[in-house]
C-alpha cells in the first residue's frame, strides 16, 4: 500500500513549506522512524527519521563515518549481518515494517537490491552467470527465460552493447566501470523495487562515473534509488532529494536544489561550502 506524504508531515527540518510541496507528488516508498543503530557499543545512527520517495533518486551525503552506509544497510537488513550490530526504530517499506518478526530478510532483499562500493562480480562466474546469479542463487523459476533476462538487465545497466559478444567471458575480465555496471545489472535482474547504492562510483574513473550517473536518470523511472556518496557534485547531479548526515544524525533532508543553494541548517552550509568534510 502506498502512503501519501501529505498524511504525515515528517518531523525533519525542512527549508521552507513551499519546497515541501514540490516533493509530495510521489508516494513514500520507505519510511524510517527514529532509527538508531549500533556496532557493539558504538552508536553510529541516532534518531534518523526520513521518508524516501518512490521513483526518485535520494542522495545521502556526509563526511566519512557519519553513518550514511550504515543507514542504507539498515534498509535491506544487511546491517545485522555484522556480528554485534543492532538496530532500533522502525523502517517501513510500503507500510510494512521490515523489522517485523514475520518478515524474512532474505525475501526483503529481493525487493531492496544493493550495489556496493567496490565492484564485486562473482569471480567464478561468466558475465551471463553473474547477471543471472540472483536468480540462480535463489532458484527462481524465471531462470528459464535466462537469455531475455540477461539482455534486459544488461541493457538497463547500459552494458549490453559492450558485452553482448562475450557473455561467456569472466565477469572479472571487464574494466572496473564495466564490472560495476555488471553488478548493477545483477541487482536489477532480480527485479527489485528499491536499489540501494553505496558509493558506487568511488573506485571508478570520471568517464565510468559519468556513465553510471547517466544510468541513474533512466533507472529512477522504474526504481526507487538511494545513493550514498561522499561526492557532493555527484549528489547534485543525480538526485532529486538529498539528505545530509553528520555524526549519525540527519541534519537536513530537502530537494537537492534547495539543499545545495539555500541550506536551512548552518552545518549543511558549512559542509557543502567545504568548511569541513
Amino acid at each position: 500500500m502506498m502512503l501519501s506524504a501529505t498524511t504525515d508531515r515528517p518531523p525533519y527540518r525542512t527549508a521552507s513549506p513551499d519546497r515541501d510541496m514540490e516533493t509530495t507528488a510521489n508516494g513514500i516508498k520507505i519510511r524510517a522512524r527514529e532509527v538508531h543503530a549500533w556496532y557493539g557499543d558504538n552508536q553510529v545512527l541516532r534518531d534518523i527519521t526520513m521518508d524516501i520517495e518512490a521513483q526518485r533518486v535520494t542522495a545521502i551525503i556526509g563526511p566519512s563515518g557519519c553513518g550514511k552506509s550504515t543507514f542504507i544497510r539498515c534498509l535491506n537488513r544487511m546491517h545485522e549481518m555484522i556480528t554485534g550490530a543492532r538496530v532500533e526504530g522502525s523502517i517501513e517499506l510500503e507500510g510494512q515494517d521490515v523489522y517485523a518478526h514475520e518478515v524474512d530478510p532474505v525475501l526483503l532483499r529481493r525487493r531492496v537490491g544493493m550495489v556496493f562500493q567496490k565492484p564485486n562480480p562473482f569471480p567464478t562466474m561468466s558475465i551471463r552467470d553473474n547477471v543471472l546469479a540472483g536468480l540462480r542463487l535463489t532458484r527462481s523459476e524465471r531462470r528459464s527465460q535466462g537469455d531475455a533476462i540477461v539482455e534486459t538487465a544488461l541493457r538497463q545497466a547500459a552494458l549490453w552493447e559492450e558485452v553482448q559478444d562475450k557473455l561467456d567471458a569472466r565477469g572479472l575480465s571487464l574494466s572496473g566501470g564495466q564490472q560495476q555496471r555488471l553488478c548493477i545489472a545483477r541487482a536489477l535482474a532480480v527485479e527489485p523495487e528499491v536499489l540501494l547504492m553505496d558509493e558506487p562510483c568511488s573506485s571508478l574513473d570520471p568517464i565510468a562515473t559519468a556513465r553510471i550517473e547517466d544510468l541513474l536518470h533512466d533507472l529512477c523511472e522504474r526504481y526507487t534509488i538511494v545513493i550514498v556518496t561522499h561526492n557532493m557534485q555527484q549528489a547534485a547531479r543525480v538526485s532529486q532529494r538529498t539528505a545530509f548526515l553528520l555524526h549519525g544524525e540527519l541534519v537536513e533532508l530537502a530537494d537537492t536544489n534547495a539543499l545545495f543553494t539555500s541550506p536551512a541548517d548552518s552545518r549543511t552550509e558549512d559542509y557543502i561550502t567545504g568548511k569541513f568534510g
Partner: protein, 291 residues
Amino acid sequence: MSTPDPARTRPPSRLAEQLVRALCLTAVILPVLLLVGLIVDVTGQASERLSWDFITSFPSRHPDEAGILPGIVGSFWLIAMTGTVALPVGVGAAIYLEEYGGRGRLANLIEVNLANLAGVPSIIYGLLGLELFVRALGMGRSLAAGALAMALLVLPIVIMSSREALRTVPRTLREAGMALGATRWQVIRQVVLPMAMPGILTGAILAIARAIGEAAPLIILGAITYVGFLPDGPGSPFTVLPIQIFNWVSRPQPGFVVDAAAGIVVLLVTLLVLSGAAIYLRHRFERLREG
C-alpha cells in the same frame, strides 16, 4: 630534508644479500637431494623385485614370490573410505565454524583445540579407534574401523585447511550474494565454496597423503600383516602398504628387505599419482577462480 648522499643510500651490503640467497638455496637443495638420494637408493635395491608380478601377487613365505597386491588394494579402500567420511565432515565443520559460528571466546577455544588435535600422536588415535570402533561399536578389526580411526586422525587437518580456504573468500562477495536475496547456504554453495575449492583440495591432499602413509594406528587397530585375500567390503580384515612394508623390514631374511624396498617404491608412486591428480584439480579450480 636535504637530498641524500648517493654514496650513502646505495643498497645495504650486497654480501649479506647474497649470503641469504645462498642459505635459502641450500635450504631448498638439501631436502631435494635427500629425497632423490632415498629414491635412487630404494629403487636400486628394489629393481630386482619390482615387476608387474610384484604388484599383482599376494604375500608369501618366499621373498622372491611375495607381492603387495593386498596392501595396494587395502590402502585404496582405506583412503577412499577415510575420504568419504573425513572430507564431508571436515568441510562441514569448517563451514559451520567460519560461516555460521560466531567470533567469540568459544571459537578461539575450538581453534586452539583443533591445532592441538592435529599434533596428537597417531598412535593415540589408534587406541581411541580400538576402544570405540573395534570394541564398543563392535566393528571388529575391519576396514571400516580403520577408516573411521583414520578419518578422526585427518579431520583436524581437513578442518583447519578448509577454514583457511573459506577465509580467503572476501566478505564483499558474501554480501553481494546476500544482497541479491540469497540465503546463507545458497551463497556458501554457489559463491563461497567454488572460490574456496583450491584451498579445500590442498587440505584434502595433505589429509589423504597423511592417511596413506600412516601405519601406527592401524597396527593397534589390528590390520593384519599376512593377507592372502583382498578386502571385499567395509567389514573385511585388511592390510595396507605401510604395514606390509613394516612387516617385511622386520623379517630376518635379506630377500624381504628387497621386497620392502619395492613396496616403498610402490607407496611413493601411489603418493605421487594422488598428489599429482590433486594438484591438477587445484589448478583447474584456480583457473576458474581467477578467470
